[in-house]
């Protein structure tokens, strides 16, 4: 039954629908953007009505939210967290720092472009993006999930050498365990 | 009839006098002759005992004067049992000390064996004699050889201990003489059987006072609290085998004397309760004192005192079971305490202060000695299946039969104390780290044999007490039967 092409389509549709409406976010507070998450989650903006909910550990989470700048040191942790997450998984780049370094564009220890290291599904720009923007970002992600276009994880797997090379370029002392999620 | 009781006194005495002369012929004879004598006596006593158990007591009259005028020796089941025990212990002590004293020079060895012979003579005499003045003489012989043996190591402490012993011993002699005088003045006879028949004619005041004097005098030798001040020092300072001889021979003889006075000669019923009281006090005080001792032999000495207290308590019940228990206890105590003294003296052989701490970790160097000490310790606290258990059981049964529950519970409580200090020593031997300063001394072959014989006896009696209980039953019956004793002695006509 599963091998059938049409039924596969239906199954995919239901799965994507459920994934769309149940987004568990690993709020990994790497930068100053983390301060925008509480208002997004609580009464004023109430992200839970979209099915967005905090998850405590990477094993349970669907979305990795990179809230702001990433230093070389935090990047290493973020990569580990991302690789510990279970498929399907998505990354949201949050704030201009993740896009091009933002106000830290010339800092000696802040990475400039996140999507060279991790596959970003949705960027939310702004410095800081307000909760409305965050919700809009989630909505965008939901749309992409429903359309089946949120395939960052697949791309990451496909182009692992490229990502690894970029990662290793700034983390020369690469001691991380190999994950094949 | 292979011999007469008089040989028990005559032969060792003769040997004692001959030892210096024989020493002039061949020095080794000094060591050999006492052994031969004791072996002969052992054979003799076993034969006589067998004879006595079947045919009734042998009463031997000395110098042809029939009782009550002459001195008589009585070899009954009771006294025969004790004599056998004493001779056996003397033999063990001789085996043990045969090489023990080898590194000691000829002169000390000569003295040692001479005095040992004297000690045996005296003690055996006390048990055999039927005459109170004669008993006094034997007590003096025992006492004097005891003083000398205590001072065997001619050091300051030994001399002091010997002096204490001598001093209290003198008091004892004086009191004993006084007591004999009182009795003689009242009755005009010194023969025990004769006195026993006439004692009811004596005024109670004289009777009681003389009994008190007897008990005090003999109590000093029998280590009754508070008359036993000499004992710990003497045990601690005398050589190990001498300690065993004291515990096994001298004290037994003294207790025998007390018992003979109370059971046979006097007819004062309160004396039994008095025995229980002083026995209990002695037991409790001695065991309490023992637990805090620092020197091994002192501890053993206090333990010995306590056991003697228990023997007195058992005699104090006044029943046949009580006497049986007391005799059984005496036997076990003689065997076990001797083993403890003999093995203990090897455990602290080379240490300077002879403290308990110095036996630490000895089991690696003296495995057999340590094992035998542990065996002795387990046996003396009355753990089955070793010998001590049966005597403790019979004491308790006797107490229960006399409805003395309080005494019984006290005995058991004190037993716990006893257990603690023996186990502490055994634990030290087996589980503590050895002190570097102390060097172990391997026991000589003959000492080992002596200890092994005792150890084997403990096991044999423990697993199959029937080997000895028959004799003890007869002995206790013999002691209880006062009229038979009197009749046996007085019916002898030369």
């Amino acid at each position: 039954m599963i091998n059938d092409k049409h039924s596969q389509k239906i199954v995919d549709y239901i799965q994507n629908w459920s994934r769309k409406h149940s987004i568990w976010v690993l709020a990994y507070g790497t930068g100053c953007g983390a301060i925008e998450i509480p208002p997004t989650m609580t009464s004023r903006y109430d992200a839970e009505r979209l099915g967005v909910r905090g998850a405590a550990t990477p094993r349970q989470a669907d979305v990795l939210l990179i809230t702001g700048y990433l230093t070389v040191k935090t990047l290493k942790r973020v990569i580990r967290v991302y690789e510990q997450m279970q498929d399907p998984k998505y990354v949201i780049g949050f704030g201009s720092c993740t896009i091009n370094g933002g106000m830290y564009y010339d800092s000696y220890n802040t990475i400039n472009v996140l999507d060279k290291y991790l596959p970003v599904d949705v960027y939310i720009n702004g410095c800081m993006p307000r909760p409305e923007a965050v919700l809009s970002g989630f909505a965008q992600l939901q749309k992409r999930i429903a359309e089946g276009r949120a395939d960052g994880a697949a791309q990451y797997k496909e182009n692992l050498e490229w990502y690894r090379a970029n990662q290793k370029r700034i983390i020369p002392n690469w001691v991380m365990p190999e994950y094949n999620w | 009839m292979v011999g007469t009781p008089v040989l028990f006194v005559a032969i060792p005495l003769l040997a004692a006098f001959l030892i210096p002369l024989l020493g002039m012929i061949w020095k080794e004879l000094v060591r050999i002759v006492p052994g031969l004598v004791l072996i002969y006596l052992m054979v003799l006593s076993v034969n006589l005992l067998n004879h006595v158990l079947v045919n009734g007591p042998i009463v031997e009259v000395i110098a042809g004067w029939a009782p009550p005028f002459g001195i008589n020796l009585v070899f009954s089941a009771f006294s025969g049992f004790l004599v056998t025990l004493m001779v056996f212990l003397g033999l063990i002590v001789w085996i043990y000390s045969y090489r023990f004293k080898r590194n000691v020079g000829f002169e000390p060895a000569k003295k040692y064996f001479l005095l040992l012979m004297m000690l045996v003579t005296g003690a055996v005499g006390i048990v055999l004699t039927g005459d109170i003045f004669n008993m006094f003489v034997f007590i003096e012989i025992t006492g004097i050889s005891g003083y000398a043996l205590t001072a065997f190591y001619t050091g300051r402490d030994s001399a002091e201990a010997s002096f204490k012993y001598l001093m209290l011993g003198s008091i004892a002699s004086t009191l004993l003489l006084l007591a004999i005088m009182i009795l003689y003045s009242q009755l005009g006879t010194l023969n025990m059987a004769e006195i026993a028949t006439k004692i009811h004619t004596v005024k109670p005041a004289y009777k009681v006072i003389s009994l008190i004097l007897f008990i005090t005098a003999l109590g000093i030798e029998a280590e009754i609290f508070p008359l036993n001040g000499w004992a710990p020092d003497a045990y601690a300072e005398a050589p190990g085998p001498v300690g065993a001889a004291f515990a096994g021979i001298v004290v037994k003889a003294s207790v025998y004397a007390i018992i003979r006075y109370i059971y046979t000669i006097f007819d004062i019923s309160g004396a039994y309760d008095f025995l229980i009281i002083i026995g209990m006090v002695t037991l409790i005080i001695a065991e309490f004192a023992a637990i805090r001792q620092e020197k091994l032999k002192r501890m053993l000495a206090y333990s010995s005192i306590g056991q003697m207290g228990l023997v007195l308590v058992a005699f104090g019940f006044g029943t046949k079971e009580g006497v049986f228990a007391a005799l059984f206890l005496m036997l076990n105590h003689a065997i076990i305490k001797s083993l403890l003294f003999l093995s203990g003296s090897y455990l602290v052989y080379n240490s300077k202060d002879k403290t308990i701490a110095e036996v630490n970790g000895m089991h690696k160097f003296l495995p057999i000695t340590s094992f035998l000490f542990a065996l002795g310790a387990f046996a003396i606290v009355g753990l089955p299946p070793f010998a001590g258990f049966w005597s403790k059981l019979s004491v308790l049964t006797a107490a229960a039969d006399s409805h003395m529950l309080f005494v019984m519970s006290l005995i058991l409580m004190v037993s716990v104390v006893e257990l603690v200090y023996y186990l502490r020593v055994v634990n030290r031997i087996y589980f503590f780290k050895k002190e570097e300063s102390v060097e172990a001394k391997k026991p000589t072959f003959n000492a080992l044999i002596a200890m092994l014989v005792l150890g084997a006896l403990i096991l044999v009696i423990g697993f199959y007490p029937d080997v000895i209980t028959g004799v003890i039953h007869k002995a206790s019956a013999d002691l209880m039967d006062k009229t038979k004793y009197i009749n046996d002695v007085l019916s002898i006509k030369q």
Binding site: S22, R53, Q86, W181 | -
Partner: protein, 304 residues
């Protein structure tokens, strides 16, 4: 044989009902919580979506045999509880095993799951899991005391240890036990706060402090099994309470009404309460709830 098949079929149906009801209640709880916090909140079927998503998520790793078996233990405990508790009284719609066990058995089968789960959590090696487990077990020791006191009070008052026996007693007298043994009911309800682990007794899986405690290493299918087991367990426990104190239910609607009403007590209490530390929670359970439990026992002894 037919009977066995019939029983198995009944068990499956019961399980599905319990799953659906438990999940819905969970969703409603989230909705109610949101409304109390002046939020719109997720839809009431949100829990189904979450469950389905978790089930469809890939589960790539495990930490060993016990880790794999942990969720199964949990599920076994929930389902067994469900099977032993009589769901509907007076008809044959849900034939279960309830004639084979009694309350003491039930108490133990209820602790079976958390312990198995704890073993699974232990093997993940995450220190947070073990910390959460120790807290959970401590709290369990806390609330079991008033809970058992309430049960013992019921047992001695009606001289039976079986659930059906207690239900019969209610049917005969016509009064619910929550009225005839009010103290036992109070104690049991207070113990229920700890059993459901809602705030203020939710320190076991404190999400930010302990990274959700025992479940921190479990995602995907593991979490799905745990979640459904939790839903089933919730339903089973509520049904047990209904059976014991509120006279059982003769049809599904009454059952739903009663369970939902009862369920609201811990939920509403939890929404409005901050969180206790473990020792505070334990001591709380040994305070008033135990006192009420004692009163219940005294009452039972007097009325016996």
């Amino acid at each position: 044989m037919e009977e066995v098949l019939y029983n198995i079929l009944g068990a499956v149906v019961t399980f599905i009902v319990a799953f659906v009801v438990g999940m819905t209640y969970g969703g409603l709880t989230r909705k109610i919580t949101a409304r109390v916090q002046n939020r719109k909140g997720p839809p009431f079927y949100q829990n189904f979506i979450d469950a389905f998503k978790l089930a469809s998520k890939k589960t790539a790793i495990h930490h060993g045999v016990m880790h794999l078996m942990g969720p199964a233990f949990l599920m076994v405990s929930s389902v067994m509880t469900l099977l032993v508790v009589p769901v509907l009284s007076g008809n044959n719609w849900f034939p279960n095993l309830n004639f084979h066990g009694d309350l003491i058995f039930l108490l133990y089968i209820m602790t079976f799951g958390p312990l198995g789960m704890a073993l699974g959590a232990g093997q993940t090696g995450n220190p947070n899991s073990a910390i959460g487990v120790t807290r959970g077990l401590s709290q369990m020791v806390g609330f079991e005391i008033p809970w058992v006191m309430a049960l013992v009070a019921l047992m001695i008052q009606y001289k039976t240890t079986s659930i059906t026996g207690l239900m019969d007693a209610q049917a005969q007298t016509g009064t619910w036990l929550m009225f005839s043994s009010p103290f036992a009911f109070i104690a049991a309800v207070m113990a229920m706060f700890g059993m459901f682990r809602y705030s203020p007794f939710d320190i076991v899986g404190a999400p930010t402090e302990l990274a959700s405690g025992p479940v921190s290493e479990n995602g995907g299918k593991f979490l799905f099994v745990m979640m459904s087991s939790g839903s089933v367990f919730t339903f089973a426990k509520l049904t047990l309470y209904i059976d014991l104190f509120m006279g059982g239910a003769s049809n599904l609607v009454i059952l739903l009404i009663k369970t939902f009403a009862l369920y609201m007590i811990p939920v509403l209490y939890g929404i409005t309460s901050p969180r206790y530390r473990t020792e505070q929670a334990v001591r709380w359970f040994w305070g008033w709830p135990t006192f009420f439990g004692l009163l219940a026992i005294i009452q039972a002894v007097i009325l016996k």
